[in-house]
């Protein structure tokens, strides 16, 4: 029999025992809904975690250091001895790193001590330069005021604890000015030719800079690996670079190569488009002769964790579907008993065993398809309800809303496909039992 005829007959048969078949289909729908709800939760939480983490810049960043040195405080370990010859991490290297494929941003870590003057009072603190990409890091979501208007703006964002030192009413600080006093590094004439002679050096000159406070942020932004956790006064990175403020590692530079006017960076953060590109880029950076370190493994662990998490959720979600499968088997076996005579008539009229088998198979498939479609819808509703409930709770806690359940297209298609497949598997036994019925006995059945 042709599939269209078969489907017509199957649907007609299902409509005959509409209550029983609807309940069976509902059972499948509940099973699929629980599976979809569980997996949508898994997917949603993974998306939430991944987007938060990728915004944080921890997993798409490579921390680059000159190979001959060790990072501050013992920092990242030196790379293998077999790697290419060491070279200074200077502007030329920075440009070269920027030109690497898939690299979105290369920036130094600029941090220096400062004395802030506000309302005529001095406050000692640490200034940190923030790259433009920090805007998307998520750390500034829900901040007071706003992020820097541009990368060149003479503006500052204060960490809230520091802001409270200046004025407990932190909101009132926004729009006001403060003065940052810092030490500018100026090259000595002896090394002005930039030859990098060993006897070169620099002098330190006190300077002042007026900055407008534009925002106060609660959390310490951790922009990129080795972030600016200790920075309590944040300024645009471009502004920080133009200040040429003397940094902690400058003294070491003097001892090493004396490049007074051409400071080498103690470290650079290289950011790539996606965390998956980190490994390849890190290898390239190492090949260029630098030390490189990334948090790729942590991101991998996260993926492994969510894979296991999704698997467990999927197993729990599938339990209801497994029960629904028994419902399908039961319904079809009952149908065989009731339609015994009809099966006999079909066979007498020329239906092959295969036709009878396929008819029951299609009936199971139709129930699976209908159950799958309704189940996905119910599952989506459950996910939406969970997200809604969570957001109501978060709103009460003054936290920004999140989407904890996501039903991507692959989940929709996968769940419906899985439902049909499971239903077909459930139909296997009844279908083969129906096909094996002896037509003579079936016709005699009252």
């Amino acid at each position: 029999m042709k599939l269209r005829d078969m489907t017509e007959l199957a649907v007609r048969n299902l409509r005959e025992a509409v209550l029983r078949n609807s309940l069976t289909t509902l059972g499948v729908a509940v099973g699929v809904a629980s599976l979809v709800a569980m997996l949508s939760l898994g997917v949603g939480l993974q998306q939430l975690a991944t987007s938060r983490l990728s915004k944080s810049g921890l997993f798409d960043s490579i921390f680059v250091t000159p190979k001959v040195m060790r990072g501050p405080g013992g920092g990242p370990p030196a790379t293998r001895a077999a790697a290419p010859a060491a070279r200074p991490l200077d502007d030329a290297a920075r440009k070269e790193l920027t030109r690497l494929p898939n690299v979105t941003e290369v920036y130094p870590q600029i941090r220096f001590f400062t004395e802030v003057r506000f309302d005529g009072k001095p406050f000692a603190t640490m200034v940190a330069g923030l790259p433009e990409s920090s805007r998307q890091s998520g750390a500034f979501d829900g901040m007071q005021g706003s992020f820097f208007s541009s990368d060149h703006a003479d503006e500052a964002v204060l960490q809230s604890e520091f802001a409270k030192d200046l004025n407990p009413q932190t909101v009132s600080l926004i729009g006001k000015e403060l003065i940052v006093r810092y030490a500018e590094r100026q090259a000595l004439p002896a090394s002005a030719d930039g030859s990098g002679s060993k006897d070169g050096g620099f002098s330190v000159v006190p300077r002042e800079k007026r900055l407008k406070i534009v925002g106060v942020v609660d959390t310490e932004p951790a922009s990129g690996f080795g972030g600016f956790g200790s920075g309590r006064l944040l300024i645009p990175l471009t502004v920080a670079e133009t200040l040429r403020a003397a940094q902690v590692n400058d003294l070491r530079d003097v001892l090493r190569d004396g490049s007074g006017d051409k400071p080498a960076y103690s470290s650079l953060t290289v950011r790539v488009k996606t965390p998956s590109l980190v490994e390849a880029t890190e290898t390239k950076v190492k090949d260029m002769g630098f030390g490189a370190f990334s948090l790729l493994d942590a991101s991998k662990s996260l993926r492994i964790f969510f894979s296991v998490f999704d698997l467990l959720l999927g197993i729990f979600g599938s339990l209801a579907l497994a029960v629904a499968t028994l419902g399908i088997i039961n319904t079809l076996v009952m149908a065989i008993l009731e339609r015994r005579r009809e099966i006999g008539v079909l066979k007498a009229l020329g239906a092959a065993d295969r036709d009878v088998k396929e008819l029951f198979f299609v009936e199971a498939g139709v129930m699976g398809l209908a159950g799958g479609v309704f189940g996905v819808f119910f599952g989506w509703l459950i996910g939406a309800a969970l997200t809604f409930g969570t957001n109501v709770y978060l709103k009460r806690q003054d936290l920004p809303g999140v989407r904890i359940a996501a039903v991507p297209w692959w989940l929709v298609a996968g769940a419906i496909g899985f439902s049909v497949l499971v239903s077909l598997a459930a139909g296997l036994y009844p279908a083969s039992r129906a096909a094996k019925l002896n037509p003579v006995e079936a016709l005699r059945y009252e």
Binding site: L9, R12, L349, L443
Partner: protein, 240 residues
Amino acid sequence: MGTDTAIGIERVSRHYLMGQTAIRAVDDVSLTVPKGEFLALLGSSGSGKSTLLNLIAGLDRPTSGAIVVGGRNLAELSSLVLARYRRETVGMVFQSFNLLPRMTLEENVELPLRLAEVERTERAARVRQALEHVRLTKRGGHRPSELSGGEQQRTAIARALVNQPRILLADEPTGNLDSATGEAILTLLREIQTNLGMTIVMVTHERNLAEKFADRLATMGDGKLLSAQATAGYRAEVTR
């Protein structure tokens, strides 16, 4: 078997095991049905006539012997080929009509065409033609429960005819009908047999009707063929 033979039954037996007891439902029966004959299988209950009909219909397989139709021994056909045989070569009519209750007459008659994968465009015409044969064109949209017994049996005959089979097998077609309706059904069968040149094998226990309408009577008892003899003939009956 000659070219004029529709059905050749050669030493056919069908034995069952009922518990420890072997039942010889059909026991070494040989019979030849020529093309275009109306054969009536007579016998009391349990004589084996229905079993023999089921064997000819390809619904059952003989324990031994051969049933040859169109040069093929049904006993040797695969179940798939046997299903095609039931679809294309024979049409069946039952005592209890066996129409599917949730389908209309037209849909019931269309069922064998669906099984034979006949194109939809062709089906409507074939269904109409079959219903015309049994004079039920006006009731095509009705369900079996809305019809009389005679009308239901006529529908079943239309369903048996729709695939244009060469052989029509009828198992007690008048068993559930009153005598007048039963006679009308047999008149219809006879008419179809004459008009379409079909071979008909009918199981019945009503000797009177069999003698009146069939060309030959084969009488069975205890699984054996007791006798096979020509009747005075339908035509003779009509002319008398």
